[in-house]
Symmetry: C2
């Protein structure tokens, strides 16, 4: 039995060095912040710690509660002010056994994962004939009642995109497919995973039952399994499947947000808020989704705080329950929506480098956008003319008209890993993570200190 | 419900075109064969068919029996002569549930797969403290009895090698680790998967209990899980694990080899035999291990047969039960070892390109080696001065002194996939598969027609 070196030493030292943040005598320049943050160790330490010491963090579970405790302690040790968890309650869907096999014509096992809110089969599962649809449109075109007693299988062809836009388009199969299949009489639905990899792991994800759609068992096949099933179907024989997807529903389970601040010196100028989410899907350890986002914003706030006094308070929102519908973001808005939010931003698209910056600012803020874009350019980040849209956790604030800036991350490999067991620490590239921290530190510093009014009337 | 195009048309046409092989009026040159085989469709059709219509083929199971039936029919349709299955019986180990979780200090699930011949836990599993060893040498150095009541965990650091040699070295952890841990009193052993990937899939594989070692539960963690456990151990707290590995042992189950031939016209010149194995591990569909090898040798024999009359008979051995100890290869040697084998070769290292050719030929065969090497060179294959060693299925013949040639495949990514659920059709590159067929067709043609005596006294 041998001891191996501890990875926690850096974290302990960091806490003592950075707390309370030793502010520079005069504000640093964005260039100084940018270069310092490229050497960041706070984000990696956060991601390594949360994924190792907590692991998977499904919304509304004891694991998510452990993540809140861990995060409150970590943010306090980093020197943040006003660190607290803000609880709320929510319904919870819990995965059980996910099993499937081809009964005929070629008996073999398939790898799949139930989708969030899937109905549960019995422990013995169900057996039925398969009805194949190459696209969601083909499923939509099936006559009402034509799927009675059958298992629908919807394939499609998602491919990787740098901006992640293919997820919006192809993700409809996961979001809407189960309700459509149910309304047409299917006893269950399988979809090809919404993903871009070629590994034998299924991509989970939430889906909500449409009004009038009776919940049925719903799952995603791994991409190699979906391809295999498509080849089997191509032989032209009727295909029978046995599917066992057990799950449970619990009411009123505890979840919560974690909030922390770096106080500014002009409360009337409003808050700059940076968001991420603490919960994860259950199969992986949520390293890229979204421990990385939380590590990035925490580290960036630390670097901004070190750089000098801030005009605006930087608030960190590490939301609960993003994956299952955004309960945390809504709870935040209910509690804090009336406070003065000058600007909101979110990091929830992995750990790969920021390649683009998008803005949605009020009229008269062109100089700020130009200033920030110039400060980000040395990081390889290009200004776009696409309007920023934010993320799930800040969606209620964005809808309420708060200005938003998006530091868009490269999504080319994000959907190789997203919502699979493979979402683990080894998928995080330390250098790309540091580039994110650097971009965020600059953005938080520039916007927190901006003399422009932003979202404050 | 829509039909998609059938992939079997080519196979059906092929059978009628190629059977019986329309021999050229005069023997073709190696160049003609090499170029024709680079357009091969037989190997892909074989691999696609076997992995789709049978899937996983664990030794001694009904799936392996279906694979024999499928293969006999396929080889007959390709025009081979003397196609038959040759049965034998063997003991079988069958996987049950593979589950593990960290109980303390950081509760979370781990992904693992039992190793072949692992003892079974009860349905409730076992819980014990972990004893960590970074290397097999560290486990070997532990005092006798020091592991009493503990679960041993052995990590190590396998990295990819083009020639696959790191498997021999690091694979010792899987082959010997369980027996060593058992003899020192461990209640179970976990190893870091013998693999080079970063996916959440465990690499299975066989291990044999040494004399005097009591079977204990033995499993491989996926590499991200082994890394995670190592990080958890690094925190310095005692680590407790719960491990459930259920399995069954069956006696005297049916297995078998499939044999087929392309008859030559000089029986006294002996056989040239090409081998692969039909069985696979249970987690994947055995596309690279070893449907590809079987597809390559079958396709290459077809191309050699088309090229012209052959002096020597080419025999194809598609062995059973390679993965679990080589029962098929031994059964073949018992039945056929006394027949005249001029040369043996095996394809069992995936589907990636051949990069090197190794020889072990009797004295006086330098001209043949030079001729064959020159014919292979345009495929990017370099002659080595390493002695050829063959593979498991021909090991008894090689040990008996039969000459052997190895067409070494690139193993750089082989152990990313080997013995995992990821061993599926999408991992086979069609162009690299064709390069294999081309190299093998040339090698079979040159050796079957060689005027040299090879292994025939």
């Amino acid at each position: 039995m041998q001891k191996i070196r501890s990875g926690t030493v850096a974290a302990l030292l960091l806490g003592s060095i950075l707390s309370p943040f030793p502010a520079a005598a005069a504000p640093s320049s964005s260039e100084t912040i940018r270069e310092a943050a490229l050497q960041d160790i706070v984000a990696w330490d956060f991601v390594e710690g949360l994924t190792t010491e907590v692991g998977a963090r499904p919304a509304g579970t004891p694991q998510e509660a452990r993540a809140r405790d861990w995060t409150v302690a970590k943010l306090k040790s980093l020197g943040f002010a006003n660190v607290r968890a803000e609880p709320y309650k929510m319904p919870v869907w819990l995965r059980g056994r996910d099993e499937a096999r081809v009964v005929a014509p070629f008996p073999q096992r398939l790898v799949l994962a139930a989708l969030g809110n899937s109905a549960s089969t019995s422990e013995k599962g169900i057996e039925a004939e398969l009805a194949y649809f190459p696209t969601l449109a083909a499923l939509e075109a099936a006559p009402d009642g034509s799927l009675k007693g059958k298992i629908a299988f919807v394939s499609h062809a998602m491919s990787a995109t740098q901006d992640g836009s293919s997820y919006g388009y192809f993700g409809a199969t996961r979001r809407q497919g189960p309700s459509i299949a149910s309304k047409k009489g299917a006893v269950a639905i399988l979809i090809r995973s919404i993903g871009t990899d070629h590994h034998r792991q299924a991509h989970s994800g939430i889906q909500m039952w449409a009004d009038g759609a009776k919940p049925i068992p719903a799952a995603a096949l791994s991409i190699p399994d979906a391809d295999q099933l498509t080849r089997i179907i191509a032989r032209g024989h009727p295909v029978r499947l046995q599917v066992t997807l057990t799950s449970r529903l619990l009411k009123d389970q505890p979840s919560g947000n974690v909030i922390a601040e770096i106080p500014g010196n002009d409360p009337a100028a409003g808050l700059v808020m940076a968001a991420c989410h603490l919960d994860s899907w259950d199969q992986g350890t949520g390293a890229i989704d979204d421990a990385s986002g939380c590590g990035i914003i925490a580290a960036a706030a630390v670097h901004a705080a070190k750089a000098g006094p801030l005009r605006r308070t930087i608030r960190i929102l590490m939301a609960g329950a993003e994956e299952v519908g955004g309960d945390g973001g809504r709870a935040y808005f209910t509690a804090h929506g009336a406070e003065l939010h000058a600007l909101v931003m979110e990091s929830d698209f992995g750990a790969d480098r920021v390649w683009r910056v998008d803005y949605k600012l009020p009229a008269g803020h062109e100089a700020l956008a130009a200033r920030l874009s110039a400060a980000l350019a040395p990081l390889g980040i290009a200004r776009s003319h696409v309007a920023a849209g934010g993320g799930s956790d800040i969606e209620p604030l964005v809808k309420a008209g708060i200005p938003v800036i998006d530091l868009q991350q490269d999504g080319t490999r994000y959907f190789d890993i997203h919502h699979t067991p493979d979402d683990t620490l080894d998928k995080v590239d330390r250098v790309q993570l540091q580039q994110n921290v650097s971009a965020w530190a600059v953005a938080l510093f520039e916007t927190a200190n901006a003399q422009e009014s932003l979202g404050i009337k």
